[in-house]
Subunit: 177 residues, 4 copies
């Protein structure tokens, strides 16, 4: 089967995921700068998720450059990846609304991890489908290594944020007290 509809559908889903995250930036009623302050963590988590989804879209783009044909298993592996990516707006909003506290950040990391696993499974399915003698495993392998390091980096950032934000929060609470 041709790969055209798979990439078009994936582009559509990722485009919508990226864009509906902006809906979480609830428009404040007041028209001053102070009204924007509570939106700062929501905005930071939006930037973070935009970058992650950008990485996934880029990797997907590179990956399917070398793919020549797809089958039912590839379609489902791809849908599995899109499923985990579709949860990113939810965990992003939860993390942003709660100023990067521990539980939401852990769930955010969890969704990223499951997306990374789904991506790895997709590449395995593609290698399986194209045969190990084709040039695809090499291209995918190179891409996969980069992806893993990116994923580790990706999970590290929100954790670092969480720590910093926690310190900031306790500081703020003390000042208010």
């Amino acid at each position: 089967m041709e790969k055209g509809r798979l990439t078009a559908f994936s582009d559509g889903v990722i485009a919508i995921i990226i864009t509906i995250m902006v809906l979480e930036l609830k428009v404040p009623h007041a028209d001053n700068l102070a009204a924007l302050r509570p939106l700062i963590p929501v905005f930071l988590s939006y930037i973070l998720s935009f970058i992650y989804l950008g990485i996934y879209w880029n990797n997907h783009h590179h990956l399917f450059q070398v793919v020549q044909y797809v089958n039912g298993r590839v379609l489902w592996s791809n849908l599995h990846l899109l499923f985990w990516l579709s949860l990113i707006p939810f965990v992003t909003a939860w993390m942003g609304e709660n100023y990067f506290t521990a539980v939401p950040v852990a769930f955010y990391g969890g969704v990223l991890l499951l997306s990374a696993i789904a991506y790895a499974l997709l590449t395995v399915t593609l290698i399986d489908h194209h045969g190990k003698d084709s040039t695809i495993p090499t291209a995918i392998g190179r891409d996969f290594k980069g992806k893993v390091s990116l994923a580790i980096y990706a999970i590290a950032i929100p954790l670092a944020f969480a720590n910093r934000m926690d310190s900031l929060n306790s500081l703020t609470s003390e000042v208010i007290k």
Copy 2:
């Protein structure tokens, strides 16, 4: 007429349907695990509908691989299918918010049934348009059988869920009493 825009439009609509269902996972204000508990049935119904829509997208993909040209009647048959699919987010959310009780589950099953009928009508229209001597009826017929069994299976799952959830609910209510 070429089939390119019909498949692109269908991909767009299904991609949006799949993605807006996530908006029903309302972000909780608290940042602990307990805050996620009321979302469990909503999340389960999301997974279920994601799989159904995945099945439809897959079948649509396979079906239009063998289609060579379309006409006005095919366009409308396809829009008819998309209409019923577009109601899935509504019935999914209703079923999820009400912990899989009888009436919402019945409506969920009803929308799935009408989607299956719309899909069957689409295949009939396509066979009609391509002529019975082409290789398309065979391909569609094979696909159709698979689809019917899937549809039956599909309606069975939420019903099973409903039963189990009802027992769970009555159990919980008794414990609370």
Copy 3:
């Protein structure tokens, strides 16, 4: 310029317009049939607008089958059409929530009329761009006549609805009194 991106962009916008209208079907909290009753007019107006947008997508599809190339003016004429179509979810929801009373129905009709005018302007721009000697004016002309009659029909339906619903409303109010 190629027409590919214009049709892809239009497909995207119309797919989103059609799908976000479902978001107006607010999920009821209760799980019985009575909870669905207030949604009936919203649902009816959704069906109506789905059909209109389906007609526009179909006509757009037919129209751009004969179009060979586009220019900046065609791009803007098309965006103008998409602007009026993008207002359909708003007027649909307003009409549905107010049980087809006079003012919302008038606005609904107005948006449909302006969409029809925008479509007519788009066809004029295309004829202008392709030259009167091409086979396009004939194809467009035939399509245009059909469209006009459809548009008249389209405006007639909600008006008829409004009248019937008004009678229904006054009847209901009297019964309640």
Copy 4:
């Protein structure tokens, strides 16, 4: 790499951005003309942003007509542009809800400015990638000049609006007093 997926993804994101702005036109409960009055500034800001996004989509369309191939840097430059464009619905809604007062208008202008810078960076990346000897710099240069003047014009309009609206507001407040 082929440019097909980049343009398809951009089309998707811009189509969604344009369409979700309509969701800010909150459906009024009353069915009379007075109920629409508070929506007028929201509607005006929608028209304004629709035109801006139309300009960007048009320019993007023209730009990628002359582009022949893309690389990773082009993908990221394009995502950077889409990031700023994705903030337009937020600043549009904020500006509309606050009747074009100073701070929201300043943020609106800021997002437009950053979008213009992102577009300029994208063109620079493309020139870099295609080489200065190709016909692309000329085409881009011509387009870029037009874009800059449009951007200046674009920022001027909301500022003018803001002034007029401010006068209107003070006038209205005085009349009410």
